[in-house]
């Protein structure tokens, strides 16, 4: 073989190696790695994630489930027959074949179980809100740094939903102008309780009602919207005000059934209003972002953009406008943001969890962003429970 030919081929081989990653991706299921998953926490949310995971069979294989409550474990096994089952999460974590865990337990157990999972060398998908309190958020950030090869993703799934991605893009491109006000609600007309089967206590099944286990409506619901604002504006609030009460379901619960929190973002010159009541469902989920040039009104899976009238001033000098393929306005004068309804947010979040594990990337909803949102949630609860205005401390500025 002549020298030139050899160099030519060697060059081809080198570039071939560079393309290896792309080729790996292109070959698809042939060389695809399937992640073995263990579920810790098999309540409504855990089972919900399991159902979505079944739509991703080449990415994930559920091999183990764990719950301290027997009836939850039995329900889960119906949907995941034949997998290993545990009552103690530490036993589940000893399984060497397991690559990653989904943690969907009551809030007070998030930190200890996540810490155990990281120590056991597993990748972690931790449901929101990340931790029960601020010190635990800080500790988890430190812990995750000691396990850089492991992925820790927090379940703030709106960072993954194409619709919300598009809204973030619209904000960044200035289509809304200067945003000063955000209005969010997540209402329901329901006592938020689950049925307690015979032989189980209320505290075991309805942990959301108790301050020792739960961050209430703010941690369970409003955290999604609070997290989205942190993400869309790359920010955090500077001041948190809040109020609430047990205003309708005076049934022995400790967490509020009616809350309203105000987050003041001084650097962005914005006010965010977040509220939830268990006493009315008319508005349900609403999420409105209001700027000088337009408004975005979001539901869980769809969104509409409403331009501000002032932006159309130029059009008033003419009697008509001729344009190509007219925008498809809704009957109420808004423009749908995405033409099609997307999938459940969890689907996108799980897809990203898979990508981050296999391509060794940092998730968009990670321990830092999860901690930041956890701080917001806890400041909001502190404000409501103690009737004080909570201020952001520099120690809450986590960095990787």
């Amino acid at each position: 073989m002549s020298r030139r030919k050899f160099l030519h081929q060697a060059g081809a081989l080198a570039s071939g190696l560079l393309l290896h990653q792309q080729l790996l991706a292109a070959f698809g299921s042939g060389i695809q790695q399937t992640i073995n998953i263990g579920f810790i926490g098999c309540g409504d949310r855990g089972r919900g994630i399991l159902h979505i995971m079944r739509e991703l069979p080449s990415e994930f294989r559920v091999t183990a489930v764990c719950d301290v409550l027997d009836f939850r474990l039995q329900e889960m096994l119906k949907d995941a027959p034949g997998v290993k089952s545990y009552k103690d999460h530490r036993k589940l974590l000893e399984d060497k074949e397991l690559h990653a865990v989904i943690i969907a337990t009551p809030l007070n157990l998030h930190y200890p179980i996540a810490a155990d999972a990281l120590a056991a060398g597993k990748h972690v998908f931790l449901e929101k809100t990340m931790t029960y309190n601020i010190p635990e958020a800080s500790k988890l950030v430190q812990l995750a740094k000691q396990h850089p090869a492991q992925v820790l993703q927090v379940g703030h799934q709106y960072r993954y939903v194409p619709l919300y991605f598009k809204v973030k893009e619209m904000i960044e491109k200035g289509y809304l102008g200067k945003i000063t006000h955000i209005d969010c609600r997540w209402d329901r007309n329901w006592n938020w309780r689950r049925k307690v089967p015979a032989g189980y206590s209320d505290k075991q099944v309805n942990w959301r009602m108790y301050k020792a286990y739960s961050g209430g409506l703010v941690a369970e619901l409003l955290s999604h919207q609070i997290d989205f604002i942190n993400w869309a504006f790359n920010t955090h609030p500077d001041e948190v005000l809040g109020t609430g009460g047990i205003d309708f379901y005076k049934d022995g619960r400790e967490t509020f059934d009616n809350v309203q929190v105000i987050l003041r973002y001084n650097k962005e010159n914005m006010i965010g209003n977040f509220g939830a009541t268990c006493g009315n469902s008319r508005e349900g989920y609403i999420f409105k972002i209001k700027g000088t040039k337009g408004t975005v009104a979001l539901l869980v899976n769809s969104g509409i953009f409403y331009p501000e009238p002032e932006t159309r001033k130029e059009l008033q000098v003419v009697d008509g406008v001729s344009g190509a393929t007219k925008i498809e306005w809704n009957t109420d004068g808004g423009i749908p943001i995405l033409k099609e309804q997307g999938k459940d947010g969890t689907w996108y979040a799980l897809k990203d969890f898979y990508t981050c594990i296999t391509e060794k990337k940092q998730p968009t909803s990670n321990v830092i962003t999860g901690a930041t949102t956890a701080v917001c949630v806890h400041l909001a609860n502190a404000a409501a429970y103690t009737n004080t205005i909570q201020k952001w401390k520099t120690s809450y500025n986590f960095s990787s």
């Binding site: 619209m170 491109k173 289509y175 040039k293 337009g294 953009f305 331009p307 932006t311 159309r312 130029e314 059009l315 000098v317 003419v318 009697d319 008509g320 406008v321 001729s322 344009g323 190509a324 393929t325 007219k326 925008i327 498809e328 306005w329 009957t331 423009i335 943001i337 099609e340």
Partner: protein, 344 residues
């Protein structure tokens, strides 16, 4: 004394006949997946909302491929023929004329192909390849259509019609005819960006001003006006793919499909605004001119003396420029560089 009374009577009578008594009346609504606006100038509100909505619904029942019960949908599902109504006949007639004049670029039998590209009622999950297109093109050719009395025939069952490229223009003309039937002589009708206008606006008997939209990147950005014009009585329509397109392999593909090839038009044109005596003609031509590219479009317009067009296009260096054909220049009114007699 009698003279004075006569003069007085004369003034009273002519005062009653002053055109400056006309004032604007506005109607608006939602139809054909878009909004419509009508401004007419009259002494009284002689045109009402309800009949307009009715007409638009009727047009949908005739021409909309998004309504499975419509005449056109039934023709598409039929094996050989259907009995048409006046709307479908008018649209077919104008379409066949434009098909001939554009050498087949405008062809309403293109429906199976526009559907395959994702611009039809059925959602697509992937874009077609050349083989699919060449197979579908066996059903595409307006010569497969023929009218006998009120019956429309197709030579092949797979022949399917899509009149979206002409229906809004036609609808504007139908609305114009209705408005004129009420005795209105001064109006501006806009439906999905297609415009039909006549007369002047009042008070003041001023020229009606039409803005031509400038292409913007996103539908969420405020509308910008590229030019303002005062055309004579007739129609103004604009075609462009800066809003409606598909993305494929990093490229954006126009929704304007060339009836000769079955592929999206790809040339330097960003948008074309066409003037014609009526909106059905303007609408049929705007997409065709877009598909032709600048040079052929200008040449073709030389053979169409009743049409005029304004083009926004991308130069080879990437910068955006504009130009106009024949007498379109005369309508422009915002240019400060030259004085002109707009001849209103």
């Amino acid at each position: 004394m009698r003279f004075a009374i006569t003069i007085l009577l004369f003034f009273l009578i002519t005062a009653g006949k002053q055109p400056s008594e006309k004032r604007p009346w506005r109607l608006s609504g939602f139809a054909q997946g878009t909004t419509w606006h009508i401004t007419y100038y009259a002494t009284d509100s002689i045109v009402q909302q309800h009949p307009i909505d009715s007409i638009l619904l009727q047009l949908d029942s005739s021409l909309s491929i998004y309504k499975p019960y419509s005449l056109i949908s039934r023709f598409n599902q039929a094996t050989d023929s259907i009995v048409t109504d006046i709307h479908l006949r008018n649209v077919i007639s104008a379409s066949l004329q434009t098909w001939k004049a554009t050498g087949g670029i405008f062809d309403i039998t293109i429906q199976p192909v526009t559907q395959a590209w994702g611009f039809g009622p059925i959602k697509v999950t992937e874009l077609p390849d050349s083989l699919t297109i060449s197979n579908l093109m066996h059903c595409v050719d307006s010569r497969y259509l023929s009218m006998k009395g009120t019956v429309l025939f197709k030579q092949k069952p797979c022949v399917r019609l899509d009149v979206n490229g002409i229906a809004q223009g036609y609808s504007s003309d139908v609305l114009a005819a209705f408005v004129e039937s009420k005795g209105v002589t001064d109006y501006m009708i806009e439906l999905g960006g297609e415009i039909r206008l006549k007369g002047k606006k009042y008070p003041g008997a001023l020229p009606i001003r039409i803005g031509i939209e400038g292409p913007v990147e996103s539908e969420f950005q405020p509308q910008m006006l590229h030019k303002v014009i005062s055309p004579p009585d007739g129609a103004i329509t604009t075609s462009g793919s800066y809003r409606k397109f598909v993305q494929s392999g990093g490229q954006t593909l126009s929704h304007i499909i060339d009836g000769r090839t079955g592929f999206p038009a790809k040339n330097e044109l960003i948008s074309v605004t066409v003037y014609a005596p009526d909106a059905i003609t303007a609408d049929a031509w705007d997409n065709s001119l877009m598909a032709m590219g600048l040079e052929r479009a200008l040449k073709t317009l030389q053979q169409q003396p009743s049409l005029a067009a304004y083009f926004i296009y991308r130069k080879k260096d990437g910068s955006i420029a504009d130009t106009a054909s024949t007498f379109f220049d005369k309508f422009m009114i915002e240019e400060k560089s030259r004085t002109r007699d707009t001849g209103n």
